[in-house]
């Protein structure tokens, strides 16, 4: 008799927050994955010998996006359960032949989706919202910064938790058919919309920073810096080189009375 699944599934979800704790060049997230799936395997195979065999299966090299891994954890939980109940590793109609193969096949595409939608779009967009709320002078700075930080963390983590919770749940209930569920989300279209709105928010923020009149020379200089920044970013020179260039330009500007 296999014990009830929901508390164990919650335990797997909770442990998924440590998926990258022992990230290394050899196995990437393999130890984190094995750690997360441990309560589930223990539930399915209380005998230490079987448990150890099952655990060792999950110690192969594995790496994907740290949030999208929950989808794979859900799928693997369902497949391990099927294996424990029927003795077969995967349902009959599945073309691939083992849980390990499903993990290896799906990790790459899920990582690509996570990198594009979460790292490259959702996080910069929520950061931009936080920065905009903080920099636009709608209230005193002491009111603005907590609202800005709260907005960033709140917005970002709503998306983060939806991916973690829904990913595990749908992965467990739908198995490999979760791919169809993912495609219904139209993530490419959502990402494109966020990027376009991000450009719009940036333009509004630039205008709001220029509106409190300083002097036309300063405003022109700020637009020159914006253009230089855009040009450098296009050439891949963002971050440290751009910071030091702005430092030099600003210092010279102040020195020559802009």
């Amino acid at each position: 008799m296999i014990p009830h699944r929901h508390p164990t599934l919650f335990s797997v979800w909770w442990r998924s927050f440590l998926i990258q704790a022992v990230w290394n060049m050899k196995g990437r997230q393999h130890l984190g994955f094995a750690f997360a799936i441990t309560p589930w395997l223990r539930r399915l195979a209380p005998d230490p010998r079987f448990f150890q065999t099952a655990l060792r299966r999950h110690l192969a090299c594995f790496g994907t996006h740290p949030y999208m891994v929950n989808i794979l954890l859900g799928i693997v939980c369902a497949l391990e359960e099927a294996r424990a109940r029927t003795g077969r590793s995967v349902p009959e109609n599945t073309e691939v032949h083992s849980i390990e193969q499903i993990k290896a096949t799906m990790a790459g595409p899920l990582a690509a989706i996570g990198d594009h939608v979460i790292w490259a779009t959702w996080r910069p967009w929520t950061v931009l919202m936080g920065v905009a709320i903080g920099l636009v002078p709608w209230a005193s700075p002491n009111v603005r910064w907590p609202v800005a930080v709260g907005t960033f963390l709140g917005l970002y983590n709503v998306g983060h938790l939806v991916v973690r919770v829904e990913g595990l749940w749908q992965g467990y209930h739908q198995g490999t058919a979760v791919v169809a569920w993912l495609s219904h989300w139209h993530l490419q279209r959502i990402a494109a919309g966020l990027r376009q709105s991000g450009v719009l928010i940036s333009v509004v923020l630039i205008l709001s920073l220029l509106i409190p009149k300083v002097s036309w020379r300063r405003e022109f200089f700020a637009l020159f810096v914006f253009g230089t920044g855009f040009w450098m970013a296009r050439r891949g020179r963002w971050g440290t080189p751009l910071f030091y260039l702005v430092l030099l330009l600003g210092f010279l500007g102040a020195l020559f009375g802009v």
């Binding site: 990230w23 936080g130 200089f221 637009l223 751009l242 600003g250």
Partner: protein
């Protein structure tokens, strides 16, 4: 506020970048105001965080790429700013000066992160051996050990950097502060424009054209 308190808080928040959770409490936009609040100037901490967020918005951990340590950069910039603030100097010019030094930490922090990831390899081999001998709880112990070691190493690195940089700033500000800080206020005004240029470029460029990994 002593350097080791800032280092311990910074190292705890740093765990969120990779090892624990990834709730984004390690982002500069959160770390800056939190540490600034400890020093009694959360707003300047927020500004430091916002500058770093915008200018380094393209630093994302895709595949095997390890991005610069933005959390550490913010910890040091805010920490140095706050500690110099205790000496009676302040303003956004000082924040820019602190960030000028802290920006150097980005690649150093990445190097530390890479070393810690290499050390994790030793943990991985150790777990393999233990599991072969039937020691199943070794997995959980190793996870705790790796997190603890990362916390300890980063806290030590931040503490050393805070002490060293604090000494440099402490020597610089009384001598050249009057000349430098006023000029750097102009830089503080310009930084959001440069940062927003990076953001606009990032949102406009087609993802298929590359991820902009540096």
């Amino acid at each position: 506020m002593t350097a080791w308190v800032v280092a311990l808080v910074g190292a705890t928040l740093h765990l969120d970048t990779l090892a624990v959770g990834q709730w984004m409490v390690s982002r500069p936009l959160v770390v800056g105001p939190c540490l600034g609040w400890l020093f009694g100037d959360a707003w300047t901490g927020f500004l430091i965080g916002a500058w770093i967020e915008l200018l380094w918005v393209r630093a994302i951990p895709v595949g095997l790429d390890v991005p610069q340590d933005l959390c550490g950069m913010t910890v040091l910039a805010t920490g140095w700013y706050g500690r110099t603030l205790d000496q009676g100097t302040g303003g956004v010019g000082l924040a820019v000066l602190s960030l000028t030094l802290a920006a150097l930490w980005g690649p150093i922090g990445r190097w530390c992160d890479l070393k810690l990831r290499r050390m994790n390899l030793w943990f991985a081999n150790r777990v393999d051996q233990r599991l072969t001998h039937g020691d199943n709880p070794a997995l959980g112990r190793t996870i705790s050990l790796a997190i603890g070691l990362r916390w300890l190493v980063m806290a030590t690195c931040y503490w050393l950097a805070l002490e060293g940089g604090g000494w440099v700033l402490g020597a610089m500000v009384p001598r050249w502060g009057g000349f430098l800080l006023g000029k750097l206020e102009m830089v503080a005004w310009l930084l959001p424009f440069a940062g927003l240029a990076v953001v606009v470029q990032w949102f406009l460029h087609r993802p298929a054209a590359g991820w902009g990994i540096k």
